[in-house]
Symmetry: C2
Subunit: 180 residues, 2 copies
DNA sequence: AAAAACATGTAAGCTGTTACATGATTGG
DNA sequence: CCAATCATGTAACAGCTTACATGTTTTT
């Protein structure tokens, strides 16, 4: 069984709010900040077909008083389980460095599928890994040759500040989930 | 002529600090925050070959007292021009939404190839586009259904705060380039 | 009635990933 | 001297992008 791609999980996750067609899903990707995940038909339709073949989605064709059939998808139980397992994965250093946006997608989907307990664990480990990476970046900044690298130094500072902003956000989010 | 990929520009840009071999370049990608751009040999070696075929890089084989030949690359004049043109592109909304990391890569390379004037223009348009996008996100936040979407709302806030951090950084960087 | 937008898809091509192959150095 | 690492690649494969194809509603 091939591993599911990020786009695949994004599709399964969106379908937990109700059955949608491929076209509907494309519109979601085009009109929301989730747009990172490819709204092109050549990506979405094949992905839906793969997920259906793997038994993670089930598609059904409506013929509601229209000549044009409309195929909508919903997650199967196995699809839900696969998504849940994906959400429950530990947050790694590599996630923080290379796939911070994917981590945020995971967080967004946890609202439907994970409890406050798991959300807290996620945010705590996210903060931990972010802090570790910021430490790495700060070390790089210190050991940077001082000379003609103003642009390089600034770019590095940008990365540090951006990750610090994520740390602040995660801490604040954590407080909201502890409050409950 | 095929358009050059981001990885291609990253390679050309790095080679402006001195000729390097494919292996050297891989190490740079592995050991610095530029690591986003694929350090895998199956990406880098074919990319170097393409760039050489297109006349943007020239490779030369050293046989310095060693049996093992070592092929190093340096940008050609056309390669430098291609990079310069890439750096001079206007900052678009789509860049800010989908390729913020690429914008930072461009900024880092501007240190070698662009003057303070162009750097200022870049940062100014970056701030403008970032502010526009933050406005979009804030609007989305206001019009978000209030109900059961705590996670979704928080994820959106994360995006807003992250982009605001970039705005603050760009403003600060701009001051440094105005000072000079 | 014609044009535009809706809705669903397919095909070709290319880039990147993963895994493997191969020989040259260097360290213990 | 043997193993690990250096250094340079290649091959198979999969997914995404762009462009195209096709028929259906809706708008003008």
């Amino acid at each position: 069984m091939k591993p599911t791609t990020t786009l695949g999980f994004a599709l399964i996750g969106l379908l937990h709010k109700g059955p949608l067609s491929g076209y509907d899903l494309r519109k979601v990707f085009q009109s929301t900040p989730m747009g990172h995940y490819s709204s092109s038909p050549g990506a979405i339709y094949p992905a839906l077909r793969r997920l259906e073949e793997q038994g993670l989605l089930s598609g059904s064709v409506d013929r509601g008083q229209s000549l044009r059939p409309r195929k909508t998808f919903r997650p199967t139980r196995r699809g839900t389980e696969a998504l849940r397992a994906w959400l429950a994965q530990p947050v790694t250093r590599d996630d923080v460095v290379f796939d911070l946006d994917v981590l945020l997608l995971r967080f967004a989907f946890m609202g439907n599928l994970s409890g406050a307990e798991e959300t807290r664990r996620f945010l705590q480990s996210l903060v931990r890994e972010l802090e570790g990476y910021v430490g790495e970046l700060e070390l790089q900044l210190e050991t940077l040759p001082a000379g003609p690298t103003l642009h390089g130094r600034l770019a590095l500072e940008c990365g540090i500040e951006s990750h610090r902003a994520h740390i602040r956000w995660a801490r604040r989010a954590l407080r909201k989930f502890k409050a409950q």
